[in-house]
Symmetry: C2
């Protein structure tokens, strides 16, 4: 079978430059916010916001806080704020800027995210004009440092069950914020440990003894001199695996009173008469609408995580291109990059980075477009699902890629001076924050399968079944080119766009049908819907993954096909093939289980995977240099010819 694949391809497929590939990655300069990227890169380089390590914790935190203020002065953090309140009305630019910052110190990235993205974003998207006026300009200039106090010790993923209360007291026209239990302490809150002045606190709003669900209230927690406010208790979270330039902490509240106007009341308000009102009747719809307004954080983390993977790949490939080990036939020792095992470790990671680049560019643009749509509308909910799924997919990919790159650099990769330890330790929590990945995949799938529009109040799980079964049975009847049940495929088919585009879609539909059947069986056996769902949880997460992977594959294909330069397209096409083949090969157990291709084809895919790595190997350096990460930001002597 392997005979259909040429052995030992060594010549370059085409002559391409990093600059040409970089242009491809940019695509449309305006849509890509090239100007915001350039400004951010300059700010980072001029300000020296690169990698630092080995500082004592408080010093590191203050250092990063100083950088944050400079970012504020440059106007980079508030790009997305309304122009009348210190911003530039440019959410696309804000995300592009975040992506660029992610090439530098990741504590600064997260501090920026907390200040401008989460705190500023919550006030922007959940507040009304008076909040914008009062807080956004000060947050933009970092005259106020802000906390986003959502997660509690006992409730992270399950935001709806937060315990903190915000009770309206008509006697004083104030809102009283309380932490009723240990597990209600706000935890892992960035900016809480040392610098934060205000916190956007998510709490159960109680007005007239009636609960109205989770709302956000602005609570001052520390004055300009760093004095913690009365009734507020701060406990520093202390040292973490990484991101030690960010001062995470616990916040708890003992009858802390704030003016009624501090309620961020875009979706629910307390009138001057002391009564609650909302434009959204159902509490659960209101809750989902509020959360939906905060989706920019997940979009940003998905994009930032990709930047981290690009940094790690650049360092590892450059090292692999200079480090030699064991003698070769020419008397010179062999470059690490010339070993097949090394190629198999690094090149699929590069392909995944390019593929994700295409998908995340679209997510960013679609998110920005959705800001004009009605809150809670179908488009907004679709984007929310995509952001959840791509955040999970991208951050898991980064964890895996950085780990592989660390191991590929051996002992050098373990030294802090070579940056990979920080890339690993700092980004490790990306799979957890802004939503645990496993939970996010389930969020995506619930969105995919249920018709929120009609039953926003309670997800009717049986509808998942009906929808899923219907959809799957429709598509399973379609003919799919890969299905061959025993026949070998020729190399042309195995390299063909259509083979994988249809296969990935077929897989998604099949997984949908399987999930639906399994779920229905549990229900038919008398299981409670929630228990049944827990029982199918592995299938739910799986569906999220294959859905996202299908989108990534399609969107990368679109970009490759629209590339006008023939040489460039030849290389990109190989990269696309590598993405498609590697993802298929990794999941070949499933494809074989479902009779989608023969054992012979599966083996041929394994051989093709090696061939593709060998074909792309001459371009490895070009492919990572196209990410255009400045040496000063890579900050790894093994990648930049610097002395360590």
């Amino acid at each position: 079978v392997t005979a259909t694949i040429p052995d030992h391809p060594t010549e370059q497929v085409a002559d391409v430059s990093p600059a040409a590939l970089a242009d491809f990655l940019v695509g449309d300069a305006e849509l890509d916010s090239t100007e915001a990227r350039r400004r951010t890169r300059e700010a980072v380089l001029d300000g020296g916001f690169g990698y630092v390590y080995g500082l004592p914790r408080d010093e590191y935190r203050d250092w990063v806080f100083g950088w944050l203020k400079q970012i504020g002065e440059h106007g980079m953090g508030s790009l997305g704020f309304p122009s009348e309140y210190g911003g530039e009305d440019d959410p696309a630019g804000a995300i592009a800027s975040f992506e660029t910052l992610a090439f530098g110190d990741l504590s600064l990235l997260v501090k920026t995210g907390v200040q401008f993205g989460l705190t500023g974003g919550a006030i922007h998207r959940l507040g009304t004009q008076r909040h914008h006026e009062e807080f956004l300009p000060k947050l933009a200039r970092v005259e106020l440092a802000g906390c986003f106090a959502m997660t509690e010790l006992g409730h992270g993923s399950d935001v709806r069950s937060l315990e903190t209360t915000a009770t309206y007291d008509p006697a004083t026209d104030e809102i009283v914020v309380d932490t009723p239990s240990q597990s209600a302490r706000k935890d892992y809150i960035g900016n809480a440990g040392r610098h934060g002045n205000i916190a956007v606190v998510f709490a159960q709003l109680i007005v007239d003894d009636e609960k109205h669900g989770v709302h956000a209230v602005v609570v001052p927690i520390r004055d300009a001199d760093g004095q913690v406010a009365d009734g507020v208790t701060v406990i520093d979270d202390g040292e973490k695996m990484g991101l030690n330039g960010v001062d995470n902490g616990q916040l708890s509240f003992d009858s802390v009173r704030v003016p009624r106007n501090n309620l961020l009341d875009r979706f629910g308000t307390i009138g001057e008469d002391g009564h609650y009102s909302s434009s959204i009747d159902k509490a659960s719809s209101r809750f989902f609408t509020m959360l939906g307004a905060l989706v920019q954080g997940r979009v940003s983390v998905a994009c930032g995580a990709l930047s981290v993977a690009k940094s790690a790949l650049t360092i590892a490939v450059r090292y692999g291109e200079r480090r030699r080990q064991f003698e070769s036939t020419e008397g010179k020792e062999t470059l690490l990059m010339d070993y097949l095992t090394h190629q198999r470790r690094l090149l699929p990671g590069i392909a995944r980075a390019y593929a994700l680049h295409s998908a995340l560019r679209r997510l960013r643009n679609r998110y920005v477009g959705s800001l004009d749509a009605e809150p809670g509308s179908e488009e907004v909910r679709t984007v929310e699902g995509l952001a959840a799924g791509l955040k999970a997919y991208s951050t898991w990919n980064t964890t895996e890629t950085v780990q592989t790159c660390r191991e590929s650099c051996g002992g050098e990769g373990y030294l802090a001076v070579n940056r990979l330890p920080a890339l690993k330790s700092d980004s490790d929590v990306f799979t957890t924050f802004e939503g645990d990945n496993t939970v996010l995949m389930q969020l995506l799938v619930k969105g995919l399968l249920s018709d929120y529009k009609e039953q926003f109040e309670d997800l009717d799980l049986l509808d998942i079944v009906r929808y899923g079964l219907g959809r799957a049975s429709d598509t399973l009847l379609e003919s799919v080119p890969f299905v061959n049940r025993g026949m070998d495929r020729d190399e042309e088919t195995l390299r063909d766009r259509d083979t994988y585009l249809k296969s990935f879609r077929w897989r998604e539909d099949h997984v949908t049908g399987n999930l639906a059947r399994r779920f229905k069986k549990r229900i038919d056996d008398g299981a409670d819907p929630l228990d049944a769902l827990i029982d199918c949880q592995d299938h739910v997460v799986r569906l999220g993954q294959v859905h996202i992977e299908r989108l990534v594959l399609e969107q990368f294909a679109e970009d490759v096909d629209s590339c006008g330069d023939e040489d460039l397209r030849a290389v990109l096409d190989l990269l696309w093939q590598l993405y498609a083949v590697e993802r298929t090969w990794v999941d070949r157990g499933w494809f074989l289980e479902h009779g989608h291709f023969s054992a012979a084809t599966s083996k041929a895919l394994g051989a093709l995977l090696n061939t593709l790595c060998q074909q792309l190997r001459p371009h490895a350096l070009t492919l990572v240099d196209a990410f255009e990460i400045p040496d000063a930001l890579l900050a790894a002597p093994i990648a930049t010819d610097a002395e360590r």
Copy 2:
């Protein structure tokens, strides 16, 4: 197909206690060195050698050095040394003690390994009586701190190509040690940065202008006051991803002179007449014999890595048994451990830990037995291969397990106070040090496939082919119970010992045959053997993995089957099944490709995997508590009810 597997098993299979399981893990108390473990545990607990974090680097290093001295005073580090030189002639106890230390601070573990295992071990195993007399007692009491200076910046895996030279000067009867280039600097050397007094330096020995290959020479590098010796340059490696209590550094030598007697000359000596002689004629045989004498380091790392995985699993399972999230049907929120996705994350890791425990116990005993065998003998080389393969398998498993445990604990898992960050960062380099795992797997396979005894000088690669082809064709004709090509298997078969024992062996033989064929094809096409081997590298590593996995499966089965307690055996049998099924399921792509079972069987395995997790779920806490890691060493508030 899934209908053959019972849904929703909830009841406990049997009533077992952590103590009964712990007894099973001990097995034979004497062979298990229970006494050495107890002494070590006491020393660790009494000395407070637990987890520390957040100390400035130099303070942390000195703290760990203080601990090392206490370990020395307790006699724990020199257990394996000859009794006449401060030890107890107990290498099994030394490894058991290392395993126990691995529950505590990992910087101390590595510092201990460098001092007693590597430096002491090299002097013990490569030196002769005068070296033992002079150095071992002082190393045992830590009056001298030692470095093991093998790895160079340019040569880690390829020790035979080290550049450092040790030239005998007959005029002064001294050996002159030199670092001829930048890439020849000794690097990542533990104890070099701050505390080391002597270094065992591996260098190309030159006598009478003739090169005799790599030998080890003891070189003083720093006096008792910390003054670095003339001609020696030390550059601190600075901060690392983890293990920051160990002072790694670079060492280079500019005509550093030491007495002739400082050559560790068990396998090659310079006589008083100034001529070189050795009992082993061939330079390459001598080299391999010397390296083979140092195998205890790999055995120890394999065992220590498992302890780290056990710690992480204990923390994650205990947290999963107390943390609730999202409402369940009973009105109470659901325990994390009751989620199927959580069970799928953690229970296979527990099964792997138990399986590896069996295999590593045998490796330890077999290694100790091999110390009585002739250096360079077949038994010694077999143990060397096993140690290489199990070191790679165990440390990769630890990296994966700790990562999964970190993610399973969400935000709590990212806080240093909960220990998982240190377990991850400290153990991450285990896949690299004591030999890069990818290289070690190749070492194992070369040993498996070639007949070293007859052609020790140069590995005849064509013999690999002949041997491999012959072996594979023999066994492929055997009937294997799993092979069914289309038929579904009943649950009994899918849970049967024999099904997997034969399948894993069949897989190994098949991979051997494939490798041989692929290699032969390259050779037949005129490829240079070295290029051909690089081209088959992925198959070589793969063969190493499936070989080790087969051994682990068999050895765990033996232990389970020999368990006399029926209840206990019932639980252990499930654990064995989980190991067998998960490993098969993860690799089902390969099994399906090779027609070893049908698609229906493959799906049934996936369902069985869930069922096994659900069946073992009630025992999760018992299974980790059986590791008997003291709370003080776990040192994670989320696992020990302590306040953070």
